[in-house]
Symmetry: C2
Subunit: 192 residues, 2 copies
């Protein structure tokens, strides 16, 4: 097959795949996990059922793939913030603030059963590892520049941040999220 043609096919496949993922996610957000079928997803994505089954075997797999995309996008955002100019403490603060807001908005859409389904996936365990590593690097840098308590290993501080900031999921407002970030930073020994 000529290269140009195979690129066109790839692009087409990606477009169809994206349409499926967005359709599945939108339907579940509207109607809840249990009531969404492959037929509905195909309809909403504007493709035939047979085509849909060439891409995904079931609703769960569609959702897991879309969730994986969200997680990857969040990790990219956080990595970009880590690489901004500024001292390590300042960048750490920016990363932790953004992560808390991600937790906050995440709980606003989706039901508990949805979360239970998605958070079993391997890609989530992998993303959590990447996230902890990202926090850890910044914590090591901040400790080296004397801006942080140095009586606790960075690995433990990273796990503390990850857990403490997850509380943002149950908070009522962005102001409350900002307060949570400030408490968490105080725990790290960072002046805020």
């Amino acid at each position: 097959m000529p290269k140009l043609w195979s690129e066109t096919i790839d692009t087409h496949r990606r477009t169809v795949r994206d349409a499926i993922l967005e359709a599945g996610w939108a339907l579940v957000s509207e109607r809840g996990l249990m009531s969404v079928t492959m037929t509905q997803i195909a309809e909403k994505a504007g493709i035939g059922r047979a085509t849909l089954y060439k891409y995904f075997p079931d609703v769960e797999t569609v959702l897991a793939a879309q969730h994986e995309r969200h997680v990857a996008a969040h990790l990219e955002q956080l990595t970009a913030l880590r690489e901004q100019p500024g001292g390590p403490a300042q960048r750490l603060k920016a990363v932790l603030e953004r992560y808390a807001l991600i937790c906050y908005h995440r709980e606003k859409h989706g039901t508990e059963e949805f979360a239970a389904l998605l958070h079993r996936g391997e890609h989530v365990a992998h993303a959590e590892q990447q996230l902890t590593a990202l926090f850890e690097e910044l914590l090591v840098e901040a400790a080296a520049s004397g801006e942080l308590r140095d009586d606790v290993p960075a690995e433990e501080l990273a796990s503390y941040c990850l857990h403490a900031l997850a509380a943002a999921g149950g908070l009522p407002t962005e102001q409350a999220v900002a307060r949570l970030v400030s408490i968490t930073l105080t725990g790290l020994g960072l002046s805020v």
Copy 2:
């Protein structure tokens, strides 16, 4: 039925029930969730299968009941610590330390699938509410006596404690747990 006789029956029922719960829990801890059957539980508890089914319909229900007992026992421990003599900050510290240790030991037994099964239960949501309320009362007391930051509502501080201390589940040693408690208290503005 005479009262004495019905009390004897009640005691007998409780004894059988306890034997079932402990048998189920021990088997799952040894062999993993998926490989345990009702027949094995009956055998280990020293009763017949027919008797077992008079008490519980399936393995999951046995485990949920035993888990509920564990959760209730932990809540009792924490409530007792709250009611000890001493200033509110001191009692808050004792309660948070114990809770962190509970999280630490909890992860040491049981698999992830086990946790996922048990933590879906309603009694867990209820226990979390009681736990948050317990933390919150102590936080209000400590704030009133000026031992705590007062720029954040007690409800938010309680949720911060609950999430931050859950990090204890992934820590390698009790020393690391003690460090986590110290970081968390620093976040609250408590001197430690």
